[in-house]
């Protein structure tokens, strides 16, 4: 029973080392684990896949560097799918520190797909206001985004000629690290009946599934796992798929820790009870 006593006082740094090992080793050895796309992710993919050519997709960057490993792979997979299907992404940013991440992803995939700025896609940059902006886009997007992220008039770009409000967007995709998605669902979805798809950090995802169940959103991509599913659907495995083996093995280790921790707790409790009874 001494082993349980030792386990109950184990230095937490041993746990960190073990987690680091189960994350690093699969990244080096690259074992193949099956990734099966779930329905909420597949619903977004199918919806985008079935949009007619030339449809506009409003992409809102509502995350920052702290969420990059979860959101960036999905952004890139989605953009690949848009350009492959001749859909037109229009990027806006609600989180100012997310502006360079959105721009980096958009420029990278546009270059990869030979898409032309102002014709096939556009980056309108960051504007403050959240609710005011979301409601404002319902009337006229130019009230908030008269110029793009480089301060050039949006009317000088062919892509923006026929875009005025939510009626001109086939889909709004929110990449979300916080609670901004609640405002999108409430205002763009509730008030303007805009179709919405959400990609949320894993921390926020459980709070948003009920919007999927109530059909307030068309689908949901939850964390790096959801992004990996999207990469599989797009048939272009990238960083999210590469991280899934590490994710799975680290989960197994954490489950073992939880089980071991509970056994140790009950064994120690029973031992102390016996000692107290003597």
């Amino acid at each position: 029973m001494k082993i349980f006593e030792k386990l109950s006082h184990i230095d937490r740094r041993f746990i960190y080392i073990l987690i680091a090992i189960v994350v690093i080793v699969p990244l080096l050895l690259k074992p193949k684990l099956p990734i099966v796309p779930t329905k909420p992710v597949k619903d977004i993919y199918d919806y985008v896949e079935n949009l007619p050519q030339g449809s506009n997709i409003l992409i809102s960057i509502d995350y920052d560097a702290a969420s990059m490993p979860e959101q960036q792979p999905f952004l890139e997979a989605l953009l690949r799918q848009c350009f492959r299907n001749k859909l037109k992404p229009i990027m806006i940013v609600q989180w100012q520190l997310g502006a360079p991440l959105g721009t980096t992803g958009l420029e990278k995939i546009a270059k990869e797909c030979n898409a032309q700025y102002g014709v096939d896609y556009i980056n309108l940059g960051y504007r403050p206001g959240y609710v005011a902006q979301m409601v404002g886009i319902g009337r006229e997007i130019r009230d908030y985004f008269a110029v793009d992220y480089k301060n050039v008039s949006i009317d000088s770009f062919p892509i923006m000629r026929n875009i005025h409000n939510y009626n001109d967007f086939a889909l709004l995709v929110g990449l979300e690290a916080g609670a901004t998605y609640l405002l999108w669902v409430e205002y763009a979805g509730g008030r303007f009946k805009q179709k919405i798809a959400l990609a949320l950090n894993a921390v926020s995802a459980p709070d948003a599934y009920y919007f999927y169940q109530s059909k307030q959103i068309i689908g949901l991509v939850g964390g790096m796992k959801g992004a990996a599913e999207y990469e599989v659907l797009e048939n272009k495995p990238d960083l999210a798929v590469a991280g899934m083996a590490s994710q799975s093995y680290s989960h197994i280790l954490i489950i073992l820790f939880i089980v071991l921790g509970n056994i140790t707790y009950f064994v120690e409790k029973s031992r102390k009870k016996k000692e107290g009874g003597r």
């Binding site: 409430e186 921390v203 169940q213 590490s246 989960h251």
Partner: protein, 201 residues
Amino acid sequence: MAISTSIWIWISALLTLAIYSFLYKDNPFYKFAEYLLVGISIGYGISVYWHNTIITKVYNPLVHDKDFLVIIPLLLGLLMFSRFFKNYSHLSRIPIAFIVGAGTGLSIPSSFEFLFKQVQGTMPTAFTIGNLIIIIGVITTLIYFFFSMEHKGFIGKVSRVGITFIMIAFGAAFGYTIMARISLFIGRIQFLLSDWLGIIK
């Protein structure tokens, strides 16, 4: 692939290691990286705000479009700074009144739509196990939060079912939180092994 020769990748990698050094114990490298992050984030945020907001929403309309109506929201915005001056701090209530009034007005109709859709979501159109679980979950959880009756007897039993649903929700949230934290760690390790050391592709 080979080890990176980009100074920015090296700075990024060393700062990542400085942050993770906290896992061993608090140290000056961690503190340096932490303060640097806070400072740069605020500085960068202000620069984005300046170029994307002050220039596009204030400077351009005023200087190029001669739209002097912009002065009204600009003045209202500036009144917020009156909070820094004790004798004039009451003036900040004017823009706050606008924000509260407009915010409430915008929110009420949308909130109803938002809430009704959720209520509608608990009214299934087909009899399935999943729908049954939703109905039982919603009713028992609401009863758990009904404090006008003592949780004894039948109400006590139902509320215990409700707390079970709440615990399952907490478990799901905790599981997703672990997944999120591990994802962030994976992202950093991928950066270190790929972009910095060039060990993996």
